[in-house]
Each structure stands twice: as structure tokens, then as C-alpha cells.
Point group: C2
Amino acid sequence: MIASPSSFSSVPAPPMRWDGWGDPGRETALSDAMLGLIRGALGVSGDPRPRHHPEDVDVPVSRLTDEDVRQLADIVGSDHVSIEPVDRLLRAAGRSTPDLLGRRARTQSAPDAVVVPGCTDEVARVLAWCADSDVAVVTYGGGTAVTGGLAPLAGEHRAVISLDMCRFDTLVGVDEVSHIATLGAGVTGPRAEELLAEHGMSLGHFPQSFRFATIGGFAVTRSSGQASAGYGRFDEMVVGLTLVTPRGVLRLGPVERSAAGPDLRQLVLGSEGTFGVVTEVSLRVHPIPEAVVSQAWRVPDFASGAAAVRRVARSDARPTVLRMSDEAETAVNLASPDAIGSDDTSGGCLVITRFEGRESDCADRRARVAALLTDAGATDLGAGPADAWAHGRFDAPYLRDALLAIGVGCETLETATTWSRVEALRSGVSTAVTAALGSEDGPWSASPALVLCHISHTYATAASLYFTVVYRLDEDDPIRQWDAAKQAASRAIVDHGATITHHHAIGTDHRAFLDSEIGDLGVQVLRAVKATLDPAGVMNPGKLVP
Amino acid sequence: MIASPSSFSSVPAPPMRWDGWGDPGRETALSDAMLGLIRGALGVSGDPRPRHHPEDVDVPVSRLTDEDVRQLADIVGSDHVSIEPVDRLLRAAGRSTPDLLGRRARTQSAPDAVVVPGCTDEVARVLAWCADSDVAVVTYGGGTAVTGGLAPLAGEHRAVISLDMCRFDTLVGVDEVSHIATLGAGVTGPRAEELLAEHGMSLGHFPQSFRFATIGGFAVTRSSGQASAGYGRFDEMVVGLTLVTPRGVLRLGPVERSAAGPDLRQLVLGSEGTFGVVTEVSLRVHPIPEAVVSQAWRVPDFASGAAAVRRVARSDARPTVLRMSDEAETAVNLASPDAIGSDDTSGGCLVITRFEGRESDCADRRARVAALLTDAGATDLGAGPADAWAHGRFDAPYLRDALLAIGVGCETLETATTWSRVEALRSGVSTAVTAALGSEDGPWSASPALVLCHISHTYATAASLYFTVVYRLDEDDPIRQWDAAKQAASRAIVDHGATITHHHAIGTDHRAFLDSEIGDLGVQVLRAVKATLDPAGVMNPGKLVP
């Protein structure tokens, strides 16, 4: 059933391809060599799967009444509300593999309307209306969520709207003395850098989702960028924020550190739209770095490499980027794909470093890191592999799309743990995923799985592990197939005492595992906070809070 | 009325002098020169004030029944419960100037019992008993609180106990690979360093209260040490903690960073005993530094010095200690007290730096800082003044006692703000305090006030200001006199958009100002969290949460 056309004009489409990653004009084809390799390793034909045009997908009729839509239009203006099926469909999912597999269905669920507020007061009025009208709210930023945070769940409510923050697209203010910039929640990564560059400043937050994700999304998911070793995680950059809730506005900060009780900013960070809507964020920024120095290394193996990276992470040398691939991922990255899946670990492990800052400082820090890594048996690979990594750093999701198109799953998952547990965790997760996908017991056909891993973020006491899993998609129920692998990985993560997510957030996909991390009492605290800010329970139901 | 002796044996006394700071054997006398100066500047006689022996103070009879005491003894053992007046009196106050002035009274309030639990389970049982029995709980660590956190307030309950954590005095465990140590909440600063030194490690947390304050106290007040530029604030060192509440135990961490929803550790940090009792804290530690390099500088004035210190704080040079006194404080520190209170600012401002780490790194970082400060017109003062500062860094409270003894008030207060507001804030607070103490309108005699200030902690976007106020105590109502000055300072802090406290915490003294910082909705969130963890409201009533 296709909904009837609305009398309200359509709202602008989000910039991303609706059933894959990124710019629709930038789709990536697999090379013949890669295609041959994948065919051989995974036993797929390589034939492309059919895709839908969004106009051809059946979307349920909006459950909002004409009067509802009129009331929403009274708040935000009629140009900023839509119940057009395509508008709703485009905001119905994030970009996880299950999300993209779901885009192949003939009928898909979607929010009942898209509402595009233009200021904090309009957000407050929309939320109050939703609370009064028994309508749930999913806040939409860049659409890059990968753990189900955008699923259009109405919960126990009669409908659900998508609140698109794209009009919060300005630099609200810069304090050039304090190095603090306040940005609208809908500003994307590249736009933030453009706006700050006019003041000679940079944020330095470069997650893989950088090109499309937004400031508000970074905040509510505790995003972590590839330059976190140098500039910190996003939650470490936040000094202030404005959270609009159904019960009013919470303004926090901007004094970086305080002893005035619990730090409520840290409750809003990671709240994933379940307490309210972040409309503005005040962030620590820094001058645009004068120089960039890249350097790659090969360490003998994961264990000795992890120990060396740990020493670097704790040193004064402070690389801006610091990451290390395991042997399998190194084989892929250094373009020796023959080694994938084999036990040949002669290629060792690739370490990428990058130093940003003043020219002399960069050279100096590079030299210190060189000394530490050389002590650990590292070989200098020059700048080449590090520059290659930097060049393609935001493009892996395009490759994922190309693989999906020929029946190959390529999904990622991540976690973090204390340094002493890193090796056992890597092995435990890898084994669990491989066993789950290769199992003959499931309702899907067993597939060999290639599990690649890298240390993606480092701290004094801990590191995150980022896994990429490549496998043959089941023809009949590929969503259930991945779900089994994901459950196995999540169980292994929890059993190793690691965190269920280091930077992808909880969403729907990790929700069942949150209580094993914060306990029943911790869950009760979250529920109490939610009940205070969102007593009607309309904010992003079914996400985060168990 | 003096309580009758209990049949239960007395518990050990806290190590600190009951009506002043620190080790009773280390009282400091003022030099004749200082005494002469103070007499002249403030018009005091210099005659010592009478002090009480605690046995001579009247303490109300405990409101607990014999059956209450028996039940508490059943949980912790009869050796670990006391209703002796002296035991209770010794834990009845912190060490603010109003606290110490209060120690001069003939009759003083006190908790109704002292309970000294030996393990987390005993804490849980005591709290459950208190919640069931309508008895409030004030947790006692080192007794160094300066904002009223230890006031023995029963709130709406029938009695209040002091829960002394001194038996939580062990190193629970060390993960030498991850650089994480778990310490009992009752471990003092020096004991923590001793225990860690056996593993070659150090915590690096050195607040002025270091010698007496405890790990649990550092956590629940968001303490910040003098080496915070190098090792971070205490709340930045915490990777995990155990909070025992009347409703059960909340165990959080120890993975340093995560995206698994809001960071609940940041709710426990700063909770000041109002949600429960922190029994164990897991902390980031580091190897004992090989070398220490000290260096002092003189910068021309506060404004240019603050700008230079700001650049240093943001640089890669990372001093371990970085602080700058204003002109008046510099005159005192550099022993040219003639300049105190005059408009002579020719002495400029003293900058103290200290570098800890590897020998070569320290020299290198010192050289970078030298370059930055020299650019700003700084003069090299050598190591002398920095070493002198380090030597006396924990001893200022002894001087305060010596001044109090001759009728001179010497109190401190602190705040933090963004760098762009530092100068206006310093001037605003100083003016407000001077006006309040010098006012002829109050019920006390007007006193000239010497207001000294330093930048005590630095961040990329913000800095804290620490004020020392020296003035003549009013003979009749010195508590009310200081309260007027404190209110004026707090109002100035709030009016400048600064935080009401950077590291002294909220307690009773800042409680009325918390809503101006986090808003009514923020206060409601705190109340909801408290209601979840402490539904009977027995945990430290009257503190923190308005």
C-alpha cells in the first residue's frame, strides 16, 4: 500500500544514498582482481543483486491525522513537515549491514512524518506537542547510525516522527581566546571544518562517518574520530551543550572542568535521543595545524606491536593518529591479499602514525615514536602506507556497498578493553564470529568468515578493537545470519569484561547487553533520568535504555 | 549536657588536629616580622585566642537507642561503633574557616554515632539499616572538607551517623600492564603513593589536602591536585568505581572510554556522599617519574602572564605543574611583603612550573616552556622559588591556623571559567570580597581585606582561579562576617558565568548556587538519581542537591 500524496510540500532529501553509503555519484566498483579473489574465497557468483528505487517501495500510510500535521505545521511552518512516503522512507534507517539488507524489502516501515525545525524553541514546541499527543520522536542527523538508533519505532505510542536537524547548520559563535566554538547540531563534519577554518580553527574530529554525520549525532553517540590520539574523542571535546527535552531546556557548560556535583554533560553525551534533542554543542577547537607528518611501520606481530603501541600511547610523543592492524588486516592494507585467511603472518602488523601540529614539533614527536617502535623491532615503511590510509580513510563504506551488491557481507563491530585484555579479547571475538557464521546449525548456509581487526583508539589504560567481518551472505535470511554473528560477538565481548561499544553507541543492537555493563541499578538510574526529562516516554523509544 | 559514657569502646581518633589543620605536632608559629606586618596592616593585637580541649565541649546526647547501637554493632562489630562524645565530636566538621571558628563554641553538634565498616558488604548492610531505621549517613574520609560536606545534618531523619571509611585502607589490586590500580576509599594520599611505589607506580594526585584526604573523598568531590597539568584531575584518573547505595551496589568501569550510553561514573564523581558510599576506586597510574625539573619565572603582569600560561597549557610541552600568582600573591610568595595591599605591581607575577618524567623529556619540555614564556617577556627566576613552593605546598593551612589564633581570618575560595573571562572574573571576585568585608553596613566591624589570587589549574579552554582572603576577624560574629564575604564572592562568580566551584565541591556552602549552574531541570535530574539510589533520603542530607 502506497500512501496517498500529501497536500504538504516535500522536504529536502538527505544527501546520502538511500540504500547504501555516501554520495550516490561516488559508488565504487570492485577491481577484477578483488572480484576474482572474493569469488574464490567465498564461493559467490559475483552477480549484482537487484536494488529498489525508493518510489517503488511500499510504505505504510502515515498514522498522523490531517489535524496532527496541521498542528505540527503551525509550529515549524508547512514547508517543514512532510508525510510523503519517500521523505519518510529516506529517514527510516541508518547504515548498518542489516539496515542496508532491509532496504531490499518490498515493504518497509517508516516514520509517520518528517518534521524539520528551525530553532531551539521550535524543537521544544514539537517535543511538547509529541508528549501531549502520544507521538514518538526519532531525531535525524546524518543518517549514519550503525546500531539501530534511527529505527522508526513508535513504542507504545500511536505514531513516530523523524525530527530532521538539518536546519541547525550554523556556527553559532566562536570564542577565539578560549578556543571554544558553538555549532548547531545539524552541522556535518566537513561543514564544521569549513566554518571553523574561517577563524583559523579546526575541530579535528574525523570518524569514518565524517562526511555525512553531524555534530548532534557525534555528541549523543560519543563518537570517536581517527585522530582521537591527538584531539581526543568527541565527548572529550564537548565543553557545553543545549538539550531540549519534553520538559524544557537543559543548558550545561561551557566551563571545561568543575566540581559542582556530577557532570550532567556526561549524561547527555551518549543519550542517543532518548532524553531529548541536542540542538547546540560548544566544543574545544584548536588552530589549524601547520604541518602533517605521516609515517607507517611494520611490527613483527600483534602481541609485540600492541605492547609497543601501548608505550607510544602513554608517551609524550602524542601521535595525532595511532592505529595498528592485525596480521590479516595488514595483508589487505598492504595489498598482499594472498595472505588473507591463511596462517601466513610473515607480513607482520601495520602501524599507522600521523602527527599534526607545528612543523618542528611534528618532526620531534615522529622521532620519539620512531625510537619507541624501533625498540620493539619495527621496520620503517615510510609515509606511503600512512598516506594511502589517509587518502581512503572515509571510503571503506563504499567498498562495503560494492561487496553487498554481489552477495558478500562486510560488517564492522567494535569494543574496548584494558590493555592487559586486548589480545584475549581479539582472539575471543574473532573465534566467536567465525564459529557463528561457519556453523552448520543455523538456518543459513555456513560461510567462511574473514575477520580483520585493528587497534583503532588508544588510551593510557585501554584500547579499542575494531573488527571487519567479510562473509558470504545467506540467500534466504541474511539479516538473521548476521544477527547470529553479532550476538556471538557481543556475548564474547561481555564475557571478556570489555565494553559492548567503544564508539558505535547502543541503539537497538546493543541494548540487551547494557545491563551487563552498568548493572540493574545503573539501568534504573538511566530510567529515572529519562522519566524526569521525558515522562511520556516519547523520545526514541526502544533505544539505549533497556 | 555531656553524654554519658557508652558501654561500647571508643574507635580510633582521626589523625588530624580537631580544631585546626593537620598534624597536631606541626603547628606553625608566625615569625616576628610577619606578626608585625599583620598587626600593622589589619589592626589586630596579635594576642592568641583561647582554644578548647574537645573533652570540655558539650555534645548533645546521642539520639540513637541502645538497640540501634546493638544492631549497628551486629553489622560491623562492637569495636567499630561508638557513641562516645569525643569520637562523635572529632568527626563533626571539616576544615573551612567557619568550621574552625565553630570549634570555639562551648556546645557543638555532632553525629549521633561513629560507625567504622570493614568491607563493602558491611557498608551495604549499614546503609540498608539506616534507610530502614530513619537514620542519616555522613561518610567520613580524611576530614578535610572545606564546603560543609561533613556537617552532621540529620535532615528530616531521627539521627545521623558518621561512617568512617578508615578501614578501607588497602591496595585492592594492580594491573601493571594496563596501569590501573584499585584502592580502598579510605586510603590517604601519602599511603596511596606508598602502596603504589611498591609496584614502581604513582598516582600523581597532590591537592593541598594530600596528607590527610582519602581516595573516596577525592572521587566524590572531584578533587584536583597541584600536578593536574601533568596527571589530570582526580576525576580524569578514575576508570572504575564501586558505589554502595541503600538500594544495592553500582559497579562501573574499568574500561577508560566507551560509547555504552551516558557515563555513569561521572554521576558518582562529585556526588558527595548523597547517592551512596564509594568503597573502591580504580585509577590510572603511571611509573614513578625518573626526574623532576623545577623552574620559576616572573612575567610582567597578570594579563600578559595569563595569556602566556594559556599558550603553555595548550602546548605539547606539558608541564606537570603550571600555576601563576597575581601581583599581590607574588609579593607574598617572593618575600617582598611591603608590596601587599599597595598598588606597586613592579614585582610582576610569579609563574611556577615543574616537569616530571624522563630526564631528557623534562629538559626538552622545560626548554619549550622557556621559549613560550620568554616570548611573553618572562624573566627566568631559576629553580629556587619553584622549589620553595614545592617544599611548602601542603603547609598553607598551618599558616591559616596561626593567623586564626591571633584573630586574623585567612580563607580560600576557588572557581574556574573560560580563558576569555579570567581577568574579569578575578577582578569581580576580588572587588566583591573586599567590599563585603570592608562594608560599614554589616553587623561586624569593617576590615581591610587582602585578596591574593593565582591561576591554579589550566585547561585548553579554561582555567581555575584560587583566591586567598586575609582579614581581621570580627570579635562578635566572625562566622556571619565570612558568610557575607563568601556570599558576595559566590554571587560575583555566578554573575560572571563561572563555575561555583572548581575543586572544593558543593557541600552546604555552594548548594544555593547549584541551580544557577545546571538549571532547575538539572536539579530535577539529580533529585531523580538520588531518589532511585537513596529513596529514603538518608545519604548526606542537606548537601549538594538543592
